[in-house]
């Protein structure tokens, strides 16, 4: 295996921001950890996010991906380590706190309020107002106009901004949430498994918006368990397993196959095949898993 892991020291000290050419990252985590009582949800995670780069966080269920985002998004606070925004050490106490620092999160399940019209969702929490004092009212026409414009700029062609957002497809809803974050001046965009519940075509649409957001100069954190979605759009890859970092790679140092192999964990696949066989599992399934084991063994050069 020839994937070259990024040394943590190199990452935090020597790597330079591609736009400003300074060693300051838009967002950086150094040895961040989180405990829930006696359960260690996350330990010693180091990563960096820069302008115009996509950092992918990969891991299986329970790997600590959600905990990681919740810390960055201000829903939870980390217990150890350092979180820096533009070189300044921070600890967010609320989602509002993180938003004010330019960190916007698009959640897989709770991105929007389904019964509310699209434009109300788009401006939720940051409504435009006119007038003053107790007579301050929302500038409805302007908000509708901007919603339509911004969505069109992201390439989302919407029918009617007055319709409840619950009527949109899952992919479209993700895109509205992404467009919203971009419009409100997010510097860092966190996407929590945006493609998890989507079909192939819809996933492609969302991946395209991720690249659009990147091209607009945002630092993107893309959380997923699918290396096939992560590899084409990612610049860096952080692999998590059981709350620990098991690798951090630059795109030039790793191939899709290696990434998949790292993710899948060859040993676990072999174990699964064995178990299925013992249980008298369907022959085809067992063969398929065994085939995958062989493939993983080939790419990593190990035998299981």
């Amino acid at each position: 295996m020839n994937a070259k892991e990024i040394d943590q020291q190199t990452l935090l000290q020597n790597e330079k921001d591609p736009l400003t050419h300074t060693p300051v990252h838009l967002l950086s985590l150094d040895g961040v950890a989180k405990h829930y009582g006696n359960i260690i949800a996350l330990s010693d995670v180091t990563m960096a996010v820069d302008n115009g780069r996509v950092t992918c966080v990969l891991g299986d269920n329970g790997a600590g991906k959600s905990t990681l985002i919740k810390i960055i998004a201000g829903l939870h606070q980390h217990d150890a380590g350092i979180l820096k925004v533009m070189g300044e050490e921070r600890k967010f106490t609320s989602p509002r706190d993180a938003l004010d620092a330019g960190i916007a999160t698009v959640y897989q399940d709770l991105a929007v309020v389904p019964l509310m019209p699209i434009w109300r969702n788009f401006f939720l929490g940051s409504e435009l107002t006119s007038g003053f004092g107790p007579f301050k009212s929302m500038d409805v026409e302007k908000m509708k106009e901007i919603t339509l414009q911004e969505l069109a700029a992201m390439g989302i062609d919407l029918r009617d901004v007055e319709q409840p957002i619950g009527q949109l497809s899952g992919g479209e809803r993700q895109c509205v949430a992404i467009a919203r974050a971009v419009y409100f001046g997010a510097k860092v965009l966190i996407l929590d498994e945006p493609t998890a519940a989507l079909g192939v075509k819809q996933s492609g649409v969302v991946l395209r918006y991720i690249l659009q957001a990147r091209d607009r100069g945002l630092g993107v954190i893309f959380i997923t368990h699918n290396p096939h979605h992560a590899f084409p759009v990612g610049d860096r890859f952080l692999l998590l397993k059981r709350g620990k970092s098991i690798g951090y790679y630059d795109k030039k140092d790793i191939t899709l196959d290696e990434l998949t192999a790292q993710m899948a964990g060859g040993a676990e696949l072999a174990e699964l095949a064995h178990e299925l066989e013992q249980l008298g599992g369907h022959g085809d399934v067992v063969k398929e898993v065994q085939g995958e084991v062989a493939e993983v063994a080939q790419t990593t050069g190990k035998t299981y």
């Binding site: 829903l75 989602p95 991105a111 309020v113 389904p114 019964l115 509310m116 009212s137 929302m138 409840p164």
Partner: protein, 349 residues
Amino acid sequence: MTITQTKPKPAAPDERVAKRSLFQKLLGRPEVGALVGAIVLFVFFALVSPTFTQPNALATILYGSSTIGIMAVGVSLLMIGGEFDLSTGVAVISSALTASMFSWYFSTNVWVGVALALVVSLSIGFINGWILMKTKLPSFIVTLATFLMLTGLNLGLTRLIGGSVSSPSIAAMDGFASARAVFASSVSIGGVEVKITVFIWFALVAVATWVLMRTRVGNWIFAVGGDANAARAVGVPVKATKIGLFMAVGFCGWILGMHNLFAFDTVQSGEGVGNEFLYIIAAVIGGCLLTGGYGSAIGGAIGAFIFGMANKGIVYAQWNPDWFKFFLGLMLLLATIVNLIVKRRAELK
């Protein structure tokens, strides 16, 4: 010489948007089911009883509706915000008792008692909301507890202080006349006496509608009721919004409490029990979704009007008022079913 003007072509409408007629747009509104119900009921009583459509009878119906409607405004907003309040009925009496007992026993101008009652009403709302936000218990449980506690406090304190179940008469006290003029007078319109609560009710509905549809707070109310987690994630102050809604209910309770006090001059401490359901029924008939996130203040007003019509209509039709509760239950069932059908149909189109 003729100048041919080429008119700019109107932008081609999106082919995916089927033209919705005004009728269909109307069907998409939350209060439309209630409106249909109200019209049907009105026509029904107008046919059954000739006196029903007389101006005086209408003024009486509107007054009856307003005593429910004022509370229904707050309760509707709260329901859109995703919460219940079962303590509203007795909180109204608590407010009235506070005003009358305080000004009587401390011999102050009644306006001092009125001001104190406002503080108490807002505090009850605040405490309801605060406990709810702190404990994250369902609002059904929290407000059921405050309902029981307030019922006990109303009776217990009134008897402890005054030795009777009703508050002493404050008719002879300073400020009573002016307070009655504000909370319980009548306005003559074309020879018909219309109670002032009707106007207060309309004003509250107008303000609540404006807040819901045109202000940031309105957007937040829909959001916290529709999906509190999503709202919190985009920076909506969920706790403050919900506590504020409970306080708005408290404010409505204060107005109604003051009306109850100054329409007479004493308050019965055991009253109010069961009224909370009338307010909730008005909101539900008016198309507010029990689970939150959908509804309107106008809907709650129409719900209250249906209630007022049924209440007085039975009297005008010279039926036994015993039947009223049966009618109310039937109305609730029919209205919610109509709401459901209308909403489904509107969403399909």
